[in-house]
Amino acid sequence: MHRLSDEYEALRKTVGEFARDVVAPVIGDLYERCEFPYDIVRQLGAMGVFGLPIPEEHGGMGGDYFALCLALEELARVDSSVAITVEAAVSLGAMPIYRFGTPEQRERWLPALAAGEMLGAFGLTEPGGGSDVPGGMRTTAVLDGDEWVINGTKAFITNSGTDITGVVGVAAITGTTEAGKPEISTILVPSGTPGFTVSKKYSKVGWSASDTRELSFADCRVPAANLLGERGRGYAQFLQTLDEGRIAIAALSVGLAQGCVDESLRYVRERRAFGHPIGHYQAIQFKVADMEVRAHTARLAYYHAAEKMLAGEPFKKEAAIAKLVASNAAMDNARDATQVFGGYGFMNEFPVGRFYRDAKILEIGEGTSEVQRMLIARQLGLADL
């Protein structure tokens, strides 16, 4: 059942308080200037948010993935740039190392990643394609003696170019399988490795305070021991990473959707038109009611997916449903909240303006809505017709 335990509830409250007291007052400025929120990240690190699903022996908090999702929801209720920074660092940066890393790799990277002192990133998408990963991949890694030599380009990689980015997991073609398909593996590339260039930040429509960059590799050499997990299992590994990540993105989307409700509830009491607060009019009340319905149902969808995942049951379909429903909810609520705010909703100084700009990417990142529908249809047995 979807009642939070006292501990989850206390965590949710604590992160919510942090978001309102620490993030809310400064994020508008950072967003407008496209500045990475270093100080917020440092404080979130001290609270242990980056280590939530990582065991204590690796410097984490010994919680679980659902705890991370609750934290992401509360952060995104106030701001998505901060939330996606945590999401990418934990679920794309640290978790693959925790799940697939050797004892040496875990020991080398996890303590700093779990403390938020170092950020990790995961480079899968390439300029030629993100939905069809094996088909679009051009990046190669060739074993030369005891070193991998990497060549290629990655596009839109979150957290890859901050001052505290320490490592990027790079998916690359390392050969051809027996079936003649590309063999994909993941290799850990420390920031600053010669031959690894991080371009300047993209100019983005939203998530403006987060760090997103194009990466290029030109004869970039790393030790053979930097292979993450098994050779040729890179594709399977990131599919697992992405399944989990979808629940996290769903949580983040629910946060944005709920943030729209929070802001609207405040505003419809204050703003007056034709002699009444605008919340007096049923057209506005229904909009807010619909927004609450979307946030609520999307939350149940991600709670359910997370519950299945933590129980060790198959959760691919539920994760895809949660991501699809929640990103829809975020997009619809952002549109409605902006409408409720009228002209002020179009101003960057109001949070809903930010929500509007931040919502769209949720239907694209970590699997587009079309990809989620493909996954759901496949789980329903429709793929082989």
Binding site: E7, A10, T14, Q43, A46, M47, V49, G62, G63
Partner: protein, 259 residues
């Protein structure tokens, strides 16, 4: 060092707060209970002193069962254990009787240093630290924005209207803190999980040797005779600048005793 930090649950200042019409006490069911903000600074200071000098931090709360949430938060921040003084008979205690009940409990559990916030956001009497110190017969160091302990001596910086005083005393002592003293930490998830396993002792009147006739509505020295809702905020005063805007503004501020 055995530090006891007093923490009170108060109604959230962000919500509407009410008095009960029957016995004119605060309606604690009507609003969400939160940790009195200044007490979080007290907890933080206690934890910092413990980190620097060793020892143990005990949370002391007097309040209804619901106040257990407040204890849990202080434990999640890092306090070691807690004492929750709770008894139907305590309902309606005023500042004097509260200080009596708390002092009785403190005598029972022992302490080197008692730290508390300088006032609570609900009653705002700001007298508890002084009353506790008197009842316990130990020095009181109030309104501290800095605390230093060296051996058995304690020095604080006491905030005043004109700057600060340095006040020194020997332990055991009672210290009240203001919010400039530190930046309270947010509990980590590890702290939240650990809080579950920390001991919380429940004291009723008997355990703390509190005499029933000294506490509650009956034992209170003060009584709320009457109360009324605060008047709605009046429209502001607009000063029209006709060359004398500055002078008029100053006049207005002076009349309100702001300058």
């Amino acid at each position: 060092m055995n530090i006891v930090v007093c923490v009170k649950q108060v109604p959230d200042t962000a919500t509407e707060r009410k008095l009960r019409s029957d016995d004119k006490t605060l309606d604690r069911e009507a609003a969400d209970g939160v940790v009195n903000e200044l007490d979080e600074y007290a907890v933080e200071e206690a934890l910092r002193l413990k980190e620097a000098h060793g020892g143990e931090v005990t949370v002391l709360t007097m309040g209804p069962d619901k106040a257990a949430d407040t204890i849990r938060k202080a434990l999640a921040m890092g306090a070691d254990k807690a004492v929750h003084v709770t008894d139907e008979a305590l309902h309606g205690s005023d500042a004097l009787s509260t200080s009596y009940a708390m002092a009785q409990t403190l005598k029972k559990i022992g302490f080197d240093l008692v730290i508390l916030g300088s006032e609570s956001t609900d009653a705002r009497t700001g007298v508890l630290a002084a009353m506790l110190a008197e009842r316990l017969g130990v020095p009181q160091l109030t309104l501290a924005n800095k605390v230093d302990v060296a051996g058995s001596s304690i020095t604080i910086q006491r905030v005043t209207d004109y700057g600060f005083d340095r006040v020194e005393a020997t332990l055991p002592a009672v210290v009240s803190v203001v919010e400039k003293i530190n930046e309270p930490r947010y509990p980590s998830f590890k702290g939240i999980m650990a809080a579950k396993k920390k001991p919380v002792a429940k004291f009723g009147l008997a355990e703390a040797e509190i005499a029933a006739d000294q506490v509650g509505l009956g034992g209170a020295w003060s009584e709320v005779a009457e109360f009324a809702a605060a008047p709605p905020r009046a429209a502001g005063t607009v000063v029209k600048d006709e060359g004398d805007g500055g002078a008029k503004t100053a006049e207005f501020l002076a009349a309100k005793k702001f300058i």
